[in-house]
């Protein structure tokens, strides 16, 4: 109980003390408590670490906080690793983009590959907000992790991973999207059984389409789109129609729409589900200005 109180209080103390004095006097205590037998003590250390990171300089964070994090992400207790995953965005916010890019990102990828499913889930769920602090030039390094997590055994991990894939796809070079993402997403769709995952998968495909423009159709064939629209779930079909609108509007190409999408899109008019027909009706007026441009 005393050690828990100290672990919890260290963070608050860091707000009051001068950093240099705090580092000299308190960091050794933090290091000891981060190796405590009780995982509840180690969990409380993490909250304190976040508070410390806010007041420390870049150099102090690098010298004192980062080494402790490196050690703690391999903690034997999954609760501790989950706590770190859930605190990661706050840490990135506290430490800034440079430290995030150079240190935190590498550490975080370990959590994305954690053997414990709950840890991977927490890391993937927090990845979306964490990405805001990562420089876009670093996004290509995240591709292998997204590709692995897109095939995770836990459906919710796959859902979150596709959400993250959607975000990074919009900022990747076209070559990376073309060679590494699109083909994998299309292949995964064929074997995916969970509808919620399929919906996010199509959103990720949509992001790829927005980035690639007309080059999208060097990989995604008409047969692929036809297969997507044969899905039994109307929510998945709705997402496909949304993808068609988004990609067409973003490329501002009526030729792209007329050649590749038109017949597929207008098939919404005869879809058996009214929600699809209503949805299509809302999308069409949005698309018309781009279809009328020559």
């Amino acid at each position: 109980m005393i050690r828990r109180s100290i672990a919890s209080g260290l963070g608050k103390l860091s707000q009051k003390m001068k950093s240099d004095s705090f580092v000299t006097d308190m960091i050794p205590i933090l290091k000891t408590l981060s190796n405590d037998d009780q995982d509840s003590v180690r969990v409380l250390c993490i909250d304190s670490i976040v508070l410390m990171a806010k007041v420390f300089t870049k150099e102090l964070n690098k010298a004192n906080i980062i080494p402790i994090l490196i050690q703690m992400i391999r903690d034997k207790a999954w609760k501790v690793r989950i706590k770190i995953s859930n605190s990661y965005t706050a840490l990135a916010d506290a430490m800034g983009t440079e430290t995030t890019d150079n240190s935190l990102l590498n550490i975080f990828t370990t959590l994305l590959s954690d053997p414990e499913g709950e840890v991977r889930l927490a890391a993937t769920q927090n990845f979306t907000s964490f990405l805001k602090f990562v420089s876009k030039v670093k996004y290509p390094t995240m591709i292998p992790y997204c590709l692995d997590l897109n095939k995770d055994t836990i459906p919710l991990v796959r859902v979150c991973s596709y959400e993250n894939t959607s975000i990074i796809a919009r900022h990747l070079p076209k070559d990376e999207v073309k060679s590494k993402l699109v083909g994998s997403i299309i292949t995964n769709f064929k074997t995916e059984t969970n509808n919620e995952v399929k919906i996010e998968l199509i959103k990720a495909l949509s992001s790829c389409g927005v980035t690639l423009g007309v080059e999208f159709f060097t990989i995604v064939t008409s047969q692929d789109i036809a297969n997507l629209l044969k899905e039994k779930s109307w929510r998945i079909r709705r997402e496909v129609y949304s993808m068609i609108t988004e990609v067409s509007v973003s490329t501002k190409s009526n030729q792209l729409f007329e050649v590749h999408f038109q017949d597929f899109f207008l098939s919404y008019l005869i879809d058996p589900v009214s929600q699809i027909r209503l949805f299509g009706n809302t999308q069409l007026p949005v698309s018309i200005p781009y279809l009328e441009n020559t």
Binding site: N254, E258, Q262, L266, L269, I270, S274, R277, L278, G280, N281, T282, L284, P285, I288, L291, E292
Partner: protein, 110 residues
């Protein structure tokens, strides 16, 4: 609005001529409403006649939804189209369906 006139409207007409389900005709009526709402000047000449055609549909629900759509776009369209809407609604004031009759009367009262 060449794409709408040359591609969309013919596609809608084809669906209506081959389509047995009244539900899809209703969806098309709502689409006309959206098109007129967004592009009144450009598309009233194309969409209003299509809607007026549907007032003769054998299914009361189709007639009713069409009247509702015409009521919603009435104030947006030009005077000539308003006259056309009213003259075509007149016959429905004695429609066999009570709801259709009432909606037609509401439009005539505008």
């Amino acid at each position: 609005m060449s794409w709408v006139s040359n591609v969309l409207i013919p596609r809608l007409q084809k669906i209506k001529s081959s389509e047995s389900s009244y539900l899809r005709r209703i969806s098309i009526a709502y689409l006309h409403e959206k098109l007129i709402t967004h592009y009144t000047k450009e598309l009233q000449g194309v969409c209003v006649p299509e809607l007026i055609n549907e007032l003769k549909n054998g299914v009361a629900n189709v007639r009713l939804v069409t009247l509702k759509v015409l009521r919603s776009i009435f104030d947006k369209v030009d005077e000539s189209f308003r006259q056309s809407i009213k003259s075509n609604c007149q016959a429905l004031m004695s429609d066999s369906d009570v709801d259709v009759k009432q909606m037609a009367q509401a439009i005539m009262a505008l």
